[in-house]
């Protein structure tokens, strides 16, 4: 069991209170716990989830897991491979990669997640986006 951040396509499902928009990755089997933040446009959702096996989730191209790194790792220490992968993931969902550098260069991986979340919810913080 491990938690990981995802960006996911948003789909409409039948919930207990009627049709609702939900991150596709949270509708798939094997997810034990998760929280989602839907972008108002419906183009994407930021998710953190706890699953026994992420392989099947990652296999769905509508879901893109974000680098499985400590949030405290410095941006400069993440390595170019992880940085490029983040860029491609963001581009896939139409999220501007300027979140890395504007208004200032991010300090740590946490800041990247924070800035992505704040595109959907201005008060978003990774400190208040978690499951157990």
């Amino acid at each position: 069991v491990a938690k990981r951040y995802y960006l996911s396509k948003v789909i409409t499902v039948d919930g207990p209170f009627g049709p609702e928009r939900r991150a596709k990755v949270l509708t798939q089997s094997g997810v034990r716990a998760g929280v989602q933040l839907l972008h108002p446009s419906g183009a994407w959702a930021l998710v953190i989830l706890d699953a026994t096996n992420h392989v099947s989730l990652i296999a769905d191209l509508d879901n893109r897991d974000l680098p499985d790194l400590s949030l405290d790792i410095k941006w400069n220490a993440m390595g170019s491979v992880a940085q490029r992968r983040l860029e491609h993931t963001l581009a896939h969902f139409g999220i501007p990669t300027s979140v890395f550098t504007e208004p200032t260069l991010v300090d740590a991986y946490r800041d990247v997640i924070d800035r992505i979340g704040q595109l959907a919810e201005p008060t978003f913080t990774t400190n208040n986006f978690d499951v157990s």
């Binding site: 929280v35 208004p103 260069l105 300090d107 208040n128």
Partner: protein
């Protein structure tokens, strides 16, 4: 803080919830948008249970002081069935609220928001419930921080700003018509104001704060107003500050991770730790700054006294000190062509990462 609503559902005969007065003296009203709903207070169990599978939402007449409060109850599991939960910030007219409920079909605790009838799942956490057991669960709403606790353990934490009005605490059931021996019942419900009292805890603050006294510990996670502190602040944490922070007294410890406004302490920053990850504003100190850490500095730091230790990892603004700078260190200058100026009267030491270049005039 004492609970402003307490309800043990203790009755001598079966009573419709809408006819019930809580232990704290408050009444329950069936929400107008769930007019087919029905919840009964069962005299044989002293619990509340659904008597219809239709959605049932009731709100209490108890009024919270503000929108920051929690709603807690015991989920008494006779048999696991349907949906049972509590609500907070429940509008008495619109279908607008936050709810924490247990949903038998999915086998998990779920937080939903409803805004004018449109429901959205915010988060969930799986748990297999046992027939005959009881589970204490709590929905906490503080600013935009919406959290779920089960058995005292936080299981869901999410940020949402859709429902800001205080509304009322409430209860919800659906998809189950329970009996005294079946279904999921509610017991020991309470609602408590949080965030008030002698210690201020503000998750999201959009107004100004003025403190005339001492703030022993103050946490403003997301602060867009302009706090003015006339007294001493022994510990101040503002993660995101868009306004101006003005201090007339001493700042013993200050942590501002993201500061886009100005920090202007007129007193001494004798033991101050200012950790400014992203600073777009101005820091001006009339006294001595013994330790200053600014990781990403786009603004201006002006110190009329000495700087015992200054660490700036990425500096695109300027630092001006009227006194000596001892142990000054600048590292990790980004690979951008930032304008950079340093004007320090005292001794200086500049450490640069490999491949970086700096010209000192």
């Amino acid at each position: 803080m004492p609970a402003f609503l307490t309800e043990t559902f203790t009755v001598t005969s079966d009573t419709a919830l809408s006819s019930r007065t809580s232990d704290s003296g408050h009444t329950w009203t069936l929400h107008p948008n769930t007019s087919s709903g029905s919840i009964l207070v069962d005299a044989s169990t002293d619990t509340a249970r659904a008597t219809t599978t239709a959605a049932s939402i009731y709100y209490s007449s108890a009024t919270p002081t503000n929108a920051d409060y929690d709603t807690q109850a015991d989920l008494v599991v006779k048999t696991v069935a349907g949906i049972t939960g509590v609500c907070a910030r429940l509008s008495t007219s619109a279908t607008t609220y936050y709810t924490l409920l247990y949903y038998q079909t999915n086998g998990r605790w779920e937080i939903y928001k409803a805004v004018s009838g449109t429901s959205t799942l915010l988060g969930f956490s799986s748990q297999t419930l046992t027939d005959g057991a009881s589970y204490t669960f709590r929905l906490e709403c503080i600013g935009t921080a919406i959290k779920a606790y089960v058995g005292g353990t936080q299981v869901i934490s999410v940020t949402d700003s859709s429902v800001t009005a205080a509304g009322r605490p409430g209860v919800v059931t659906q998809l189950v018509s329970a009996t005294d021996t079946t279904g999921m019942h509610l017991d020991n419900l309470s609602a408590t104001d949080v965030g008030g009292g002698g210690t201020t805890y503000t998750s999201t603050l959009t107004g100004a704060v003025t403190l005339a006294g001492t703030a022993v510990k103050r946490t403003g996670r997301l602060l867009t107003g302009a706090p003015t502190l006339a007294g001493t602040v022994s510990r101040q944490t503002a993660r995101a500050l868009a306004g101006t922070l003005t201090l007339a007294g001493t700042l013993a410890k200050q942590t501002a991770r993201v500061l886009s406004g100005a920090l202007t302490p007129s007193g001494t920053l004798s033991t101050a730790l200012v950790k400014l990850l992203d600073l777009a504003g101005t820091v001006t100190s009339g006294g001595t700054m013994t330790r200053q850490i600014s990781r990403v500095l786009a603004g201006v730091v002006s110190i009329t006294g000495g700087i015992a230790r200054l660490t700036t990892r990425a500096l695109s603004g300027s630092v001006t000190s009227g006194g000596a700078a001892v142990g000054e260190e600048i590292g990790d200058l980004p690979a951008f062509d930032y304008p950079l100026s340093l004007d320090l009267n005292g001794p200086r030491r500049v450490s640069l990462s490999q491949g970086r270049k700096v010209e000192l005039g």
